[in-house]
Symmetry: C2
Subunit: 346 residues, 2 copies
DNA sequence: TGGTAGCACTCTCGTTCAATGAGTGCCAAG
DNA sequence: CTTGGCACTCATTGAACGAGAGTGCTACCA
């Protein structure tokens, strides 16, 4: 039953808005007084009973008001919600906050995360640009001590990634320098994804196996890539904001919460979903994530891009009860702004 | 009154031990039953009243048992406590946990922090070796884009530090490579502290000002050092353990707690204290830290070293009510072990 | 004179109970 | 279809109360 009467929608909207504001179950009288002056509370009660039957509302106990279910929120967000546009002043505030730091990507992204968390009073997240899409600026090999070599990858965007390799054979610094010069010439300005493919290809090519130096260099780079691709960076800021939400005033829940943040990989995977799909703001509610660590959290996210290529994602994480009508535009605006900032440099 | 009668000490000890175990105020009868069978509860009560007058114990309310004060804990730790030696098996467990990873310093230190937290069921902390003492392995300059240069410092211990500099003038990669070769030759294997001094000295030296290249390279390195010295790395693991302590079952306190962890610099400064003083395990109780963020936490820490030079510090952070008699030896042992592991490589 | 037994007293904590009030469902009338 | 009215349910609150833990004090004992 995707069709709801005009009135049912109004009631659902009223319940959601009121509940988001107060955190409490909301009763029929409250609605008839505050939102729909035309009809009496009894009428509202009838509608609410219908909505409950459809699974959009829920009564914590018999004599309590109603609370929106996940399904109810979903419907509200998809069909009813009217986003409140940002005030010009708010826009300016965000722009200003990101203007000052836009030179260094690392701090820019971290700052973005902070801005998101600050504006939405929840946790803000920003995912680094997909590593496969970023271009290599420089690769360097440093011998730390016997059998221990550090490989440092620097991407154009300013991400520095280092890996320590433990080799069978010992290689001296001079030879490593040769590797470096060699590979820098070939790979510079290619994306890491392209490089990876190239390496696989070259390693198959038998004749290269005879070129000792080249072969070893490739092998090392390959190893370094292995762990580089695994480590995806994610900035999470403002986790402390979440504690203020009354839904987490219970210690047991707080434990769940921080447990969820403990390994970022789950959240990264979730944000990756945002990337894979069409662009635009996406809201994932509680159990929809099918990660039970996040079953009572929701994520509002959007990709940011350069031109037509999706780079990374950013968003806001908070409890199910959030002011979506405000946060969605904030995320949208911030993503657009960040995308614009990503254009500039070259 | 630093002199306490034998019996008073026994009573204090009993109160501390029992309170650490249970978290509750402990009464006279409990003590006479569980710890000091010879005397009656009435006698204990008299002693307790004395101890309270001295400020070592405290009664939450009239008809409750006693709880040790900070001062009481201090006295207990300094004068009464008998450390329980670690079981051989525990020692072996710790050794084994650190054996596997001892090749890469970053992971070794992180693992150490995890081990500490795991063994003590509190948060474990490990401070990176003091940056001024570590030796430079390699310095590299990479031009990211116009007016934007990344300086990468790699230390012998495997710490990688990068800084993005925004220069007035643009320098091309070839020149930067020259800087690199130049500086690597001079500075390699010196400690960062020595290098810093050397730079200051050289920059004063007027004749160097005419060597354009050298002068610019020095200036850049100096800038890079600026922010490198500020950023000291600290691993904190197992913060989640702290939530389990009943003293943090109150949400307000939890907020305080996580707030305290939010900026690591406070904790770093506290650990630095451990370094500056004589070696050995040090316990800082609550307000003694004179950081009001940490007023209800205590830190048990110890330096670790190579030979006679203190490198860094490690320790355990938890509530005032911790099993010091067990944790102190764990920290002690782990610090000694880590020191031993730092000897090996060369 | 130091230790002890006993007792009255204090204070917290959990339980019970009733009152309160918010909110519902349903029915009959408009 | 809407509405007013009414009986009903249930969480919450606060008061009263008893149980239990623990104390301080006093009188007594070796």
């Amino acid at each position: 039953m995707n069709q709801l009467s005009e009135r049912a929608q109004q009631v659902l909207e009223a319940v959601v808005i009121d509940h988001i504001r107060s955190g409490e179950p909301v009763g029929s009288r409250t609605i008839s007084k505050r939102h729909l002056l035309q009809v009496s509370s009894a009428t509202i009660r009838n509608v609410m009973a219908d909505l409950e039957e459809m699974g959009l509302l829920l009564q914590p106990h018999t004599s309590a008001g109603r609370v929106p279910t996940e399904k109810g929120l979903r419907f509200y967000i998809d069909s009813i919600m009217k986003s409140k546009d940002l005030e010009d002043q708010e826009k300016r505030l965000i722009q200003q906050a990101l203007k000052d730091v836009h030179k260094d990507l690392a701090t820019l992204l971290q700052k973005t995360s902070k801005v998101l968390s600050g504006f939405c009073k929840q946790a803000g997240v920003v995912l680094w640009p997909k590593i496969t899409l970023t271009r290599l600026k420089h690769i360097e090999f440093v011998r730390l001590r016997a059998h221990q070599i550090m490989v440092i990858l620097i991407t154009k965007s300013g991400l520095v990634n280092h890996v320590v390799l433990h080799g069978e054979e010992d290689v001296d610094q001079d030879e490593l320098d040769k590797y470096g010069r060699y590979l820098n010439d070939i790979f510079r300005d290619m994306t890491l994804g392209e490089i990876k493919e190239r390496i696989i290809e070259e390693m198959k090519n038998e004749k290269n196996l005879f070129d000792e130096l080249y072969s070893r260099a490739l092998k090392m780079t390959d190893q370094a890539f292995q762990s580089t691709f695994e480590s995806s960076e994610l900035y999470i800021e403002g986790q402390l904001n979440l504690i203020n939400n009354p839904e987490f005033s219970d210690v047991e829940r707080l434990r769940h919460l921080f447990h969820a943040f403990e390994d970022k990989s789950k959240i990264i995977r979730l944000l990756d979903l945002t990337l894979s799909n069409a662009s635009g703001v996406k809201v994932i509610l509680g159990k929809e994530s099918s990660l039970n660590e996040l079953y009572e959290l929701s994520i509002i996210s959007s990709p940011y891009k350069r031109g037509n290529t999706m780079l990374g994602a950013l968003g806001v994480i908070g409890p199910l009860r959030m002011d979506y009508s405000r946060i969605v535009p904030v995320v949208e605006f911030t993503a657009a702004l960040l995308s614009r900032l990503m254009e500039e440099p070259e």
